[in-house]
C-alpha cells in the first residue's frame, strides 16, 4: 500500500475525500444574527405572569445565539465531518476498547419507558426500569463471578473511588481503615488519583523486567498498613498476571483487598471470571467492554462488582427483587458508603449494555477470543518493525515503543500524526509510562482481517518512511482538516470561550 496519497496526480487526498467543503466552520455564535429564530413553542395557554422580584431576574442573555434550524443543522453536520469515528475506521486506542457501537442499543435506549421516565416516580410504576437494572446486575454478577454489583458510578474513575471507599469502610468497621494503597507503576493515572480521594497514600510498585508484578516486591510491600493492591488485569501492557492467585494470597494473608481495574475486561470477558482469580472488587467500563458509545468523550458508566464481604458497603440505593417478584430500591443500608451521585447511575447506558449482553448471551466469550486474536495478529505483523520492550505473551492489546524510530529522530507523536494521513486514528501514545515512547494498540474484536492488514501495512510503511524520509513523518499530518495544532500556544494564552464583541 502506497502512502504517497497526497502526491498522486488527480487523486483527492484522504482529507479532501473526507471533507470537500471549506474546513473552517465559524462558531455558532459567529453565525448569529438579530431576529433569527430557530425554534417554535406553543402559545402560552395560561395567563402570562412573572412573580419573581425584578432584582432576582435577568432581562436578557446578551451574546446568546439567534440562528435558524437550517443553520444549526448545517453547523453541526459540518463540524461532525471534522471528526474521525469508529464507524469510519479503526481506532486502535489501547485500553479504550473502541469497538463497534451497535445501533440496536441506541434504539432501545430511546424507548419512552427509559428515555422519558423519572426514578422518583412511585415504585409500582417503575417496575420495568427497576427490572432492567436488576437484570443487568445479574448478568454482570454472572460474568464476574462476584457476589453483587453497584451500577451507580458514572464512569470508571468514579467506580474506582467507590471500590476503594467500600474497602475502606470494610476495614474501618473492623477497627483500622489502614493507610496505604499499592499501585503498579504501569497503572492508569485514575488509580492513584482515586486512592488519594479515598484518603489513602499511594505506594508505587516497580514492575519487573517482564513487565509484571514482582511477587517479592509485593511481599515486602504488603503490610498490615496496606488496605488494597489496585491491579489492572491484564495489565496496561496487555500481559496477564499469570500468578494472580498467588498475588491474591499475599494480599489476603495480611487482611488486605485485591482491587481490579477492569478497563481491560474485553480481553477475558466470557472466558475467565475475576471471582476465580481472588479479586475482591472490580470496576467495569460499560463504555469499553460493553459497547456503549464514546460520544466524543462520554458519557461512561462504571459499575463495580464486589465479594460478599463488601456487600453491606455498597452505595445506596441497591435494586432488589422481592419474594413476590416485584422490584424495589433498598435505601435501608446502614453500612453503605452513601451516594456518589444523584439517582441510580447512567441509566441510559444500562439499557445499551444489557442489549449488548443480550445480543451475545452465552457466546460472549467470542468477544474476548476475537479481541485477543486481533491484537496478536497485529503483534505478529509489526514486531519486526517496532521495538517491543516486554515480550511476554499479550492478550487484547500490545505496546510497542518508538525506540527504533527514535534513532532517526522520529517519535511516537510523529508516528501518530502520520497514521492520520492513512485514515486511522492513532493508538494511545506515551502510556503506560514504563514504556518510554509507547504506542499502545488495541484493535478490539470488531475489526476484520482486511482492516487489520491495512493498519499493519500503514504502520510498516511509516516505519520505512522513518528510515528513508523522516521529514514527511515529522511534519505530519498533511491531509487532516487542520495540521498539527499548537498546544503550547493554547496553554500559554488561554482562550477558553467566545465573548460577544463589546
Amino acid at each position: 500500500m502506497s502512502l504517497e496519497i497526497e502526491e498522486r496526480k488527480g487523486e483527492a487526498s484522504l482529507g479532501d475525500r473526507l471533507h470537500p467543503e471549506p474546513r473552517h466552520e465559524p462558531l455558532i455564535f459567529e453565525r448569529s444574527g438579530a431576529g433569527k429564530v430557530g425554534y417554535s413553542l406553543p402559545p402560552l395557554d395560561v395567563p402570562e405572569r412573572l412573580a419573581i422580584p425584578k432584582d432576582r431576574t435577568r432581562a436578557d442573555i446578551p451574546g446568546e445565539t439567534e440562528v435558524t434550524e437550517v443553520e444549526v443543522a448545517r453547523h453541526f453536520t459540518r463540524l461532525s465531518r471534522l471528526n474521525f469515528s469508529i464507524d469510519q475506521g479503526l481506532y486502535p486506542l489501547g485500553s479504550c476498547t473502541m469497538k463497534h457501537n451497535p445501533r440496536t442499543n441506541e434504539e432501545v435506549a430511546r424507548l419512552p419507558g427509559f428515555a422519558a421516565s423519572h426514578p422518583l416516580a412511585p415504585e409500582e410504576v417503575c417496575q420495568g426500569t427497576l427490572e432492567l437494572a436488576w437484570r443487568l446486575e445479574q448478568a454482570l454478577i454472572e460474568l464476574t463471578g462476584l457476589a453483587r454489583v453497584t451500577l451507580q458510578p458514572s464512569a470508571g474513575a468514579q467506580g474506582e473511588l467507590a471500590g476503594i471507599l467500600m474497602v475502606r469502610a470494610a476495614l474501618a468497621k473492623t477497627g483500622n481503615p489502614r493507610r496505604t494503597v499499592l499501585i503498579p507503576d504501569s497503572a492508569h493515572g485514575t488509580n492513584p488519583a482515586s486512592a488519594h480521594f479515598a484518603g489513602y497514600k499511594v505506594r508505587e510498585l516497580k514492575s519487573n523486567a517482564r513487565g509484571t508484578l514482582d511477587l517479592d516486591v509485593l511481599q515486602q510491600a504488603m503490610t498490615e498498613e496496606v488496605a488494597a493492591l489496585m491491579l489492572t488485569v491484564p495489565n496496561t501492557l496487555g500481559i496477564f498476571e499469570d500468578r494472580i492467585r498467588d498475588i491474591a494470597e499475599i494480599v489476603h494473608a495480611k487482611g488486605g483487598f485485591l482491587y481490579c481495574d477492569g478497563a481491560n475486561f474485553n480481553s477475558f470477558v466470557g472466558v475467565a471470571k475475576p471471582g476465580l482469580m481472588g479479586i475482591d472488587v472490580m470496576h467495569m467500563n460499560l463504555h469499553k467492554t460493553f459497547s456503549t458509545p464514546h460520544g466524543g468523550g462520554g458519557p461512561g458508566s462504571g459499575p463495580v462488582a464486589v465479594v460478599e464481604r463488601l456487600v453491606p458497603f455498597l452505595p445506596r440505593p441497591t435494586v432488589e427483587r422481592r419474594a413476590d417478584g416485584r422490584f424495589a430500591l433498598d435505601f435501608d443500608r446502614p453500612d453503605s458508603i452513601g451516594r456518589l451521585r444523584t439517582f441510580l447511575g447512567n441509566y441510559g447506558m444500562f439499557v445499551r449494555a444489557l442489549a449488548y449482553i443480550a445480543a451475545y448471551g452465552n457466546r460472549i466469550g467470542d468477544v474476548a477470543r476475537g479481541a485477543v486474536l486481533n491484537a496478536n495478529y497485529i503483534r505478529a505483523g509489526l514486531q519486526r518493525d517496532y521495538h517491543l520492550k516486554y515480550d511476554a505473551p499479550t492478550l487484547h492489546e500490545i505496546v510497542f515503543s518508538d525506540k527504533r524510530q527514535g534513532e532517526r529522530g522520529v517519535h511516537a507523536i510523529d508516528i501518530a500524526k502520520r497514521l492520520m494521513d492513512c485514515g486511522f486514528h492513532p493508538p494511545t501514545i506515551y502510556f503506560p509510562l514504563i514504556v518510554p515512547g509507547a504506542l499502545m494498540i488495541e484493535p478490539t474484536e470488531t475489526e476484520g482481517k482486511v482492516g487489520l492488514d491495512a493498519f499493519i501495512a500503514a504502520m510498516r510503511s511509516i516505519a520505512r518512511e522513518c528510515e528513508d524520509d523522516p521529514e514527511i513523518v515529522l511534519r505530519a499530518p498533511h491531509t487532516t482538516p487542520v495540521r498539527r495544532v499548537d498546544e503550547v500556544a493554547a496553554a500559554r494564552n488561554l482562550v477558553l470561550r467566545w465573548r460577544p464583541p463589546v
Binding site: 498546544e487 503550547v488 496553554a491 500559554r492
Partner: protein, 128 residues
Amino acid sequence: MNPDDRHYTQSHEWVKIDGEVGTIGITDHAQKELGEIVYLELPETGHVFNANEEFGTVESVKAVSELYTPISGEVVEVNKGAIAEPGIVNDDPFGDGWLLRIKLSTDQEVSTLMSAEQYAEYVRTEEK
C-alpha cells in the same frame, strides 16, 4: 553545559550567589525534560522559605513540576518577564530565564550543594 559559577540541586535547580543574594533557576536539562513551558507559579516578594521547601511550580504541556529552593531566605525579586513569557526559561535557563532572587539567611547551606561537574555526573547516572 552547566556554568561553573553556580551550584546545583538533585531536583535540577541552580543557585548563583552574589554577595547576600542568590539567583535561582532551573537547569538546561530540566527545561529539556519539561518541554515547552507554558506557565510559572512563583511566590510574592517578602515570602520566606527554608531550604528544600517548595516555592512554586513550572508547567509544560505534558508535565507540572514542583520547584524547590536550594537556600533559605526571603524572596527579594521575582522574574516578572519569565512569568509573562515562560518560553524564556526554555531559551535561556541560565540567563534571562532566572526565576527568583532570595536574600540568604545563612551562608552555611551552599556547601551542601553540587558543583557543575557533580551535577553533570548526577544527570548522567540518573539517565541510565
